[in-house]
């Protein structure tokens, strides 16, 4: 079981790296869907056996992050005709290189961090930290609002992975509540992005700090 958990976590690290290097929005959404789906397996693997709580948590996460969010984002990107991220603030290759540096740091931190509970896998903490950082980085370094929503979901994925360490201690309700919050958040953001696009005919967040009258 230990080995399977490691494999799943390595797959998650790979999706993070791919997200950092992908310019096509459609590919990024697909990657996020894969990540969300794989994430659903984690509670089961972390418990070591299939309990009702793990199944519920995993299934909810897989359905929401692997199915609903990607569908929502795909709909938004089709409605507002955004295909790819053009001119990100940090280019793709620098993103990957920075990501590698942070990943190294995450491994160092994961080795040093002392936990009140024994971690189910030595890779869990580095993967969680790195995924959360990837989400944060996507929010900071990309221009399109849609990519930032995507980054927000990835950030939540990272927190979900970190939560696996305390999977025995954390009540199911808390995790489900967080999922609900994220769902509401993504829903609102999806609609918001749609309206921003209708109003300004672009979703470039860099231009949103100027008043409309000035730009005209």
């Amino acid at each position: 079981m230990q080995d399977w958990m490691g494999n799943v976590l390595i797959a998650l690290i790979l999706t993070d790296l791919l997200l950092l290097g992908s310019s096509q929005l459609r590919n990024a959404i697909r990657l996020m869907a894969v990540q969300g789906f794989v994430l659903g397996l984690l509670p089961w693997l972390a418990h070591g056996k299939l309990t009702g709580a793990a199944l519920l948590m995993g299934a909810t996460s897989a359905v929401l992050k692997g199915g609903v969010f990607p569908a929502l984002l795909r709909w938004a990107s089709r409605e507002i005709h955004v295909r790819r991220e053009i001119e990100p603030l940090v280019g793709y290759i620098p993103s990957l290189l920075i990501g590698l540096g942070v990943l190294t740091g995450a491994f160092v931190a994961g080795a040093r961090l002392t936990l009140p509970w024994a971690s189910p896998s030595p890779l869990l903490i580095p993967t969680g930290l790195f995924t959360a950082w990837t989400g944060l980085f996507l929010i900071m370094a990309r221009r399109k609002a849609l990519t930032q929503v995507l980054g927000y979901i990835v950030l939540e994925n990272g927190i979900f992975i970190l939560g696996m360490v305390v999977v025995e201690a954390m009540p199911l309700l808390v995790e489900l509540g967080v999922l609900l919050d994220v769902f509401a958040g993504v829903f609102v953001m999806g609609i918001l992005v749609f309206h921003i696009n209708r109003e300004f005919s672009h979703i470039d967040v860099d231009q949103l700090d100027a008043l409309r009258e000035e730009t005209l």
Partner: protein, 295 residues
């Protein structure tokens, strides 16, 4: 010793295997199996023509490249069989041998003073900037995973231990490296006819006769050398008999050539601008496999 003889004798088969697979995909028959030897025989008998602007550097290039690959063969284990010579840190020598060979080819290309060849040389070293760190990272990951410092030790130990995700990551990275080092399709198209889009082929435009024969032969040897680095990652732990190991190594090389042919048939070349992304990706996978050994 057998390995080196085999490598020098059998390597001209590899490019033909790739070409035949491509031909199969296109519904053609492809060249005869021994075409590589026919070409070498033709080229090695020819008398050379040299431009007056070239110096000895131009003639030395292919020779040094070929010699470097022979040295690399000396320290290279094939399919779990130990190499002829083996010492601590020989994997660094291997990386430098590949780099020295490339350097001499680039210098020879620059020596002609042709602008096309200068362009090709520039691209060749531009991509080497990405492939060389990736290769070193990959080999360092191997050294760290197995706790050995020589290539033979590393590959011998890996056949027995070695985790599955580590193997998959490293072999994926190494496969991209193999394609890039050997100028195969997503990076460079060996069959292209337009000088502007060539990388490796444009560097050797002015070479002829024996020099060109050595370049062809060297290219085949390079397929062998980098291919052996890849096929050593296959899980061959169950095999004990040396002959079985040797056959498995050869089979790995052959399978890799077939795989390359398939990749060349189903993929188009990447745009030059996208190339660094692919190569950095290969480096990422090697670096990630190195990181995995630290947990």
């Amino acid at each position: 010793m057998l390995q080196i003889v085999l490598a020098v004798a059998l390597s001209p088969l590899l490019p033909v295997v790739i070409q035949r697979v491509k031909a199969l995909f296109a519904g053609r028959q492809g060249p005869p199996w021994l075409q590589g030897y026919f070409d070498l025989w033709k080229l090695l008998r020819k008398g050379g023509t040299y431009s007056r602007t070239t110096t000895w550097v131009f003639r030395a290039g292919p020779l040094v490249n070929f010699a470097c690959l022979l040295v690399a063969l000396l320290i290279l284990p094939l399919g779990g069989l130990p190499a002829v010579v083996s010492f601590d840190g020989d994997w660094i020598l291997l990386a430098y041998m590949l780099a020295l060979g490339r350097f001499c080819m680039v210098v020879a290309a620059l020596d002609t003073g042709s602008s096309f060849e200068g362009m090709g040389a520039s691209r060749e070293v531009q991509f080497a900037v990405f492939t060389e760190p990736a290769l070193l990272l990959g080999l360092a990951a191997l050294a760290r995973e197995t706790g050995m410092m020589s290539l033979s030790g590393m590959y011998g130990e890996l056949a027995l231990t070695g985790e599955v995700p580590f193997r998959i990551l490293l072999s994926a990275g190494m496969f991209i490296l193999y394609l890039a080092e050997n100028c195969r399709i997503p990076v460079d198209d060996p069959a292209t006819h337009l000088e502007l889009t060539m990388i490796h082929e444009v560097m050797v435009l002015d070479h002829g006769a024996v020099d060109f024969g050595l370049i062809q032969w060297g290219g085949a040897l390079k397929l062998w050398v980098v291919g052996a680095l890849w096929s050593g990652l296959l899980p061959l732990g169950a095999l004990r008999h040396p002959l079985a190991l040797l056959l498995a190594g050869l089979g790995g090389l052959l399978g890799l050539a077939v795989l390359t042919g398939v990749v060349e048939s189903v993929m188009a070349r990447l745009r030059l601008l996208r190339m660094p992304q692919l190569l950095v990706g290969a480096g990422m996978m090697c670096a990630l496999s190195l990181l995995l050994t630290f947990r």
